[in-house]
Symmetry: C2
Subunit: 220 residues, 2 copies
């Protein structure tokens, strides 16, 4: 979906309005492209700002320029989230079924990560059509998401509309064999939750042989 | 750790250097504070930029000002990640043990999310001291993380140093009862992986009674 960022930078700086605009301006002047910015650990008027950057030319010059921005205390370079946590699968649904899907997905991701990939499996147990539809929609706004597994017994209505949207955003959608219309919009329907987790990882892993284009629309 | 953001905005804009600086400047001029920026769905020279903002005064005026920035095509308001996915627990370690911890954590999070909380459980199976230490350290740079569970049979060295760092950043660290020095730095040591997942959720859930300050340093 997104290009792999080249460099992550952690900046300890004053926590005040305009700080991000000042930092973004310096980064722009050095020709780099920002792919992610997060604020963590705000306390005592200071904040840690995490930037992920692409097309960084001279790293040392950029770091020195950021260091010179008014209000910046410390700058360090870090591995990017892409490098550390890699591509993400999101599992949404009912507790018991989310647990089973994740169990399969984590076991399978382990086998690929051992061979050098980085695949994360992230989850949220939820109840309610509105709540689930909102979470499905939000996966398209999260960074590094490649696949979504819907793990429940009844999903339709707003959730089905949301599935159409996230598929249009390029996210693979797998769902359990359940009641409701969501099945009709998924890329794959898998009856066994453990198998659903395993197949989803295989579909996105570059060290696996499963070709989603050959089985799209199938039920297992 | 961080304040809850007030508003998330999705902006479809030209994918070019300087776009973020221009948007950050407009947001600054309207007195809002940026807590998160992510880039998703880049294609055909366009990108979708997600901003999460705090201290937004007049939302309609801000949205109109962003809409007027050169290169912006569409602006919409969305629920924040804090509202949708809430607080996060990260589970790192070996496949089999990560699976068990997540199973407990998801089942317990389900019980709290049903009562209106939002707790996510995110995982990555990994092997190797350097790889695990790097992932542990990176959790302190991720947004909305409140607890980390280390699920393995042997962790020490660099991982132990990393645990000290993330605890200093305010993250609760739970580990399984395993070989290596990591146990000595954790907030809690729990032998059963399912119990480790359940207890970690209870420790951060506001609808649970477990008070971590009363059991910090204990082994179960």
């Amino acid at each position: 979906m997104t290009e792999s960022p080249d460099l992550a930078i952690a900046i300890d700086a004053q926590d005040r309005p305009g700080m991000l605009a000042a930092l973004a301006q310096v980064i722009y002047e050095h020709g780099a492209n920002v792919s992610y910015v997060g604020l963590v650990g705000r306390s005592g008027g200071m904040a840690r700002v995490i930037f992920e950057l692409e097309s960084v030319g001279d790293q040392a010059t950029l770091v020195a320029a950021i260091q010179a921005v008014d209000g910046v205390r410390e700058v360090s370079t870090e591995p990017t989230f892409e490098k550390v946590f890699g591509r993400r699968i999101i599992v949404i649904g009912a507790g018991a079924q989310v647990s089973s899907v994740v169990s399969g997905a984590v076991s399978e991701a382990d086998r690929h990560n051992i061979r050098g990939e980085r695949i994360s499996v992230d989850t949220i147990p939820l109840v309610g059509e509105k709540e689930i539809a909102e979470a499905v929609r939000a996966t398209a706004r999260l960074p590094r998401v490649e696949a979504l597994v819907l793990a429940g017994s009844l999903m339709g209505g707003e959730t089905t509309v949301a599935v159409r949207e996230v598929r249009a955003a390029g996210i693979l959608v797998v769902c359990l064999n359940m009641a409701g219309s969501v099945r009709t919009e998924a890329d794959l329907v898998v009856t066994d939750p453990l198998q659903a987790g395993v197949m989803t990882v295989m579909a996105i892993a570059s060290t696996a042989k499963l070709d989603i284009s050959r089985i799209r629309g199938a039920s297992f």
